[in-house]
């Protein structure tokens, strides 16, 4: 059996917009990834815990509600607190450009906005996760 890229698709906060998250999850599945979907309205603690238990390579956060700064920074803090540096965090949704710069400054690998082809996100993950590089 082979090693698969494993990605957690997470919906943090109270946001119920899941069309994009599901489209992305499906594209990842079709690219041969193993995707764990957390379901809606997960706290940062639940997301990081799931990422640990499932031993994923990356956490893909989808958020359209505007609460991104809060949610991403909590996730990044928790990862740091648990000394985890080999899980890539990336995401997408409705995130203004200024905030993208801030999110990158706290360690978010990339943010994909509306209109992004899913092939681009697949390529990005393949090129940047730990297994992809091995």
């Amino acid at each position: 059996m082979s090693e698969k890229i494993k990605v957690l698709i997470a919906k943090p906060g109270l946001d119920g917009h899941d069309r994009g998250a599901k489209v992305v999850a499906r594209a990842f599945r079709d690219a041969g990834f193993e995707v764990i979907y957390t379901g809606l309205r997960q706290t940062p603690e639940q997301i990081v815990n799931a990422a640990i238990e499932e031993d994923v390579d990356a956490i893909g956060v989808s958020i359209l509600s505007g609460a991104h700064n809060h949610c991403f920074s909590e996730i990044m803090n928790l990862l740091k607190h648990n000394s985890i540096d080999d899980i890539m965090v990336f995401g997408g949704g409705i995130i203004p450009e200024d905030d993208v710069a801030y999110l990158k400054s706290i360690g978010v690998a990339e943010v994909f906005g509306p209109g992004t082809p899913t092939d681009d996100t697949v390529k990005f993950v393949k090129a940047n996760v730990r297994k992809g590089n091995e």
Partner: protein, 324 residues
């Protein structure tokens, strides 16, 4: 990657990340995974394993969430393994059973792991069985295993459990019929979930009459429990039924018989897989293998004829050679 003893050290101290990593190594069958299994072996054997099976959407995950909460509440360290079917074409999968795990997700005594069946024939049940052993070594006292009740793989996973709970719901008479063959005979406890729905009585009657066809056992009567998992009704009864089945197994002696058989089966399955792998590997080195394969493909050679040719090769070149 080589064996990392410090990973095992952290695992034995109860580090979740180490456990997660070892599960991945074993699930993926990464090179040298046997060494990890070996290192954990002395710690395996104390967990009680409960399989939960049934058709898609009957509420297995909801039930497991409640049942796990019940065990945690009783002070039991609890693990869950959810086996989900994967996309057959690409080998990818979206695993969604985690959605049902509520507040207990953050309980330090709880561990949840999703496992995809990866569309592969064989191997799934072996990997699942090994992951169960890892969780056992991780000092989970109770391990709940979710599978969709179809196919040999799933049945194999259930046979690795001490108690098997089969979940159905009202109005699925057809499903029960369809399941009858495989699942009915391995079920130790039956649950009719979604008992808030119409048709519960009928499903109960159908189940009762099907169970009557099972051979009589005067020491253990297979219970049928009505549950509403979404609001937690019937969960305590399920837990009690599991306890009862466990006591039955232990007092009747079946417990150790089953486990011995399970170990033997695991050994056999692993050996079978390895033998096939090894022979295939050597076979693919045979000078004329590719040619035979292409002749089969274009129809010049029948598969049967080709197999006879290759069996000859195996006997002469591989087996005979090794025997010397």
């Amino acid at each position: 990657m080589s064996f990392d003893a410090s990973l095992v050290g952290r695992f034995l101290k109860g580090d979740k990340r180490a456990c997660a990593r070892i599960i991945s190594i074993i699930e993926d069958r990464r090179r040298g995974y046997e060494e990890y299994m070996e290192a954990l072996q002395p710690h395996v054997g104390s967990a009680y394993i409960v399989g939960i099976t049934g058709p898609p959407g009957v509420g297995k995950s909801t039930l497991i969430n409640r049942l796990a909460a019940e065990y945690l509440h009783a002070g039991c360290s609890t693990g869950v393994i959810a086996v989900d079917p994967s996309s057959p074409f690409t080998g990818g999968a979206v695993l969604g059973d985690r959605i049902r795990i509520g507040e207990i997700a953050l309980d330090p005594k709880f561990y949840f792991r999703s496992l995809s069946s990866r569309g592969s024939l064989g191997g799934l049940s072996e990997a699942a069985v090994d992951v169960i052993r890892v969780m056992d070594a991780f000092k989970k006292e109770i391990i709940l295993v979710e599978t969709v009740g179809t196919g040999q793989n799933e049945v194999d996973v259930m046979r690795a459990c001490d108690t098997t709970v089969v979940v159905t719901m009202p109005g699925t008479g057809d499903d029960i019929q369809a399941q009858k063959a495989g699942i009915l005979e391995i079920g130790n406890i039956f649950v009719i979930n979604k008992a808030d729905r119409d048709g519960c009585e009928r499903t109960l009657r159908e189940l009762q009459s099907m169970l009557m066809m099972n051979p009589l056992n005067d020491k253990y009567e297979t219970p049928i429990i009505l549950a509403k998992s979404n609001i937690g009704e019937g969960i305590a009864e399920i837990k009690a039924a599991v306890d009862k089945h466990r006591i039955y197994l232990e007092t009747s002696g079946w417990f150790s018989v089953n486990r011995a058989e399970r170990n033997a089966r695991a050994f056999k399955n692993i050996m079978n897989l390895k033998i096939i792998d090894e022979i295939n590997r050597r076979l693919s080195r045979a000078e004329n293998y590719e040619e035979i394969e292409s002749q089969v493909k274009n129809g010049a050679l029948s598969p049967h004829r080709a197999s006879v040719q290759l069996m000859e090769y195996i006997e002469k070149k591989i087996l005979h050679h090794s025997a010397e």
